[in-house]
Subunit: 364 residues, 2 copies
Amino acid sequence: MSAFKLLLLPGDGIGPEIAAEAEKVIALLTRAGVAQFEIERGLVGGAAYDAHGVAISEDDMKRAHAADAVLLAAVGGPKWDGVPYDVRPEAGLLRLRKDLGLFANLRPAICYPALADASSLKREVVDGLDIMIVRELTGGVYFGEPKEIVDLGEGQKRAVDTQVYETFEIERIGRVAFELARKRGNKVTSSDKANVMKSGYLWREVVTALHKREYADVQLEHMLADALAMQLVRWPKQFDVVVTDNLFGDMLSDEASMLTGSLGMLPSASLGAPDEKGKRKAMYEPCHGSAPDIAGKGVANPIAMIGSVGMALRYSFDLPKAADAIEAAIGGVLAKGLRTADIKGNAPSSVSTSAMGDAIVAEL
Amino acid sequence: MSAFKLLLLPGDGIGPEIAAEAEKVIALLTRAGVAQFEIERGLVGGAAYDAHGVAISEDDMKRAHAADAVLLAAVGGPKWDGVPYDVRPEAGLLRLRKDLGLFANLRPAICYPALADASSLKREVVDGLDIMIVRELTGGVYFGEPKEIVDLGEGQKRAVDTQVYETFEIERIGRVAFELARKRGNKVTSSDKANVMKSGYLWREVVTALHKREYADVQLEHMLADALAMQLVRWPKQFDVVVTDNLFGDMLSDEASMLTGSLGMLPSASLGAPDEKGKRKAMYEPCHGSAPDIAGKGVANPIAMIGSVGMALRYSFDLPKAADAIEAAIGGVLAKGLRTADIKGNAPSSVSTSAMGDAIVAEL
Ligand SMILES: CC(C)[C@H](C(=O)O)[C@@H](O)C(=O)O
Ligand SMILES: CC(C)[C@H](C(=O)O)[C@@H](O)C(=O)O
């Protein structure tokens, strides 16, 4: 039986509550002999700041490097609004992405039929929606230098962020998108602002050349990021795989996840490049945030977190059947009418975080 | 009777068709003695490139500076995909904004009740929606330097764009938003990515200080741009005035306009700072693009363009009653069931561009 090391980072807000449900699922997988999972625990975000005064400790970074996969729940909250910029909760997340080289962020936007009515969009617009957003995660304006605030005197400051992309960065994320498309609807929509940004101009050039050279069998279209923000609202089913840069991917994937009415349901994967043995560094986390307003109440939806375990089985551990089983179990409890508060809609009642976790374990 | 000089730039695609309908309305205003409007015509975008090899000529820039207001229809189209970057159609638009100092872009997202069913969102989510997006238009990543592509050799290039904001730029756009909010719902939502961008950090600091100093009577909230992209889909009626930077404003205003189901209906205003006499440079244009796919067919919706004349009356010519009359006329023809193809919905038939223009003139 294969053995895998997981680093679990519950983080802030509802993080610890939903992480506990993911642990139940992992324990079951071990008991069922799917594989041997060893779970280490660490701190990130506000939790790390409170304990160590940093957004993630060097020790936990070492553990992250050594793990076969990192499972992160959520970071941040108003409690840490006043902390210095360099140790704010988000810095821990950004460091994990950057230091582990997790350049490919996969964010599925799936509308569960049972939940289509929870969307603010008309049922026919979102029912059956299945988009995969591939977001570049270690480049662009998130990390480019200079990134600074300069005091100009007389009450004036100048703030600068730098959007940088090199050919190889665009190529490798493009490749991820085309490979995924071949296993799905065979269509890639690449998004940029080539009409105003030089990085967008290069993005389009590189994706176009890569397509021509290696992926001519996949349908490729280019769409400006503002037009894509529109088209996601108008008719999201026109999309299969969307590939875009770090900042556009941040906004567009959030917009897309909200379309589904299933925000608490959506997991994500952040992947590095394969090493000589074909192994990739990887981190899995829900698309949603730390929801400090409902933290500690036992009402958070653990499905995105449990779905993140499913994605880890698929993308890191090569256990697609176990991944399918988790997805089926999630579908199963939904079909039975189980709902946490966020997806309650017109349902007569809702269940707690742990009741939802237990039900999924039972279904498995 | 006051006299005003207008520069009309029909531009590309459906631009000339909808510009012609705006001219009918302006002619009527002159005949009715509302004011004396003198219309000059110029070229911008692909049309200027075809005629002069540039995105806008120096002559037309001079006319734009001399005019009391510029009316622009739309620029761009696939015909000019291959032209050099510096003379692409969008460059004309960007130069007008920058050289005229039009830092404040007002983009209303209004859902006309008669059209609520044309939205992909549920009626109750958008019916009566009335948001004003205030987008900074002459700064940020659109204009910051360096902005370049460097050849690194061995098939590698590096593209750089620079996002820059100074205190005074954030302050003056913030002021526009707060002033507008006072005349509307008294609430401003300021949007940034303060958690990853230094420019966002400064943005938040400056807006917060301005609020405290001069606009404490207005309700202010901050929302990350990705969260705003989500919330616009979830429950857009929570917003009154939204203020944000050039790039976020581009995407968020397009997303917001698509919510309304009324994209062909939405005008916009781009305003400069008032001079000693209180006069501002100004440009008015539809929120929609040049729609090359339907150009020349006489089916485009002229309402956003005619609405742009209305905004000019309100913001440049201090003729609020005439502006109200135009808005009422638009509402009137809609109430009578007149529809162009884009807003046809389940209506039995649709009318042409010029029939819609004529009907609005008749209603006026
Ligand atoms: C928390 C924040 C830094 C992060 C981002 O902007 O990437 C989040 O919004 C996300 O999308 O994962
Ligand atoms: C045409 C383009 C340069 C422009 C922009 O990005 O500002 C357009 O999308 C807009 O929003 O007016």
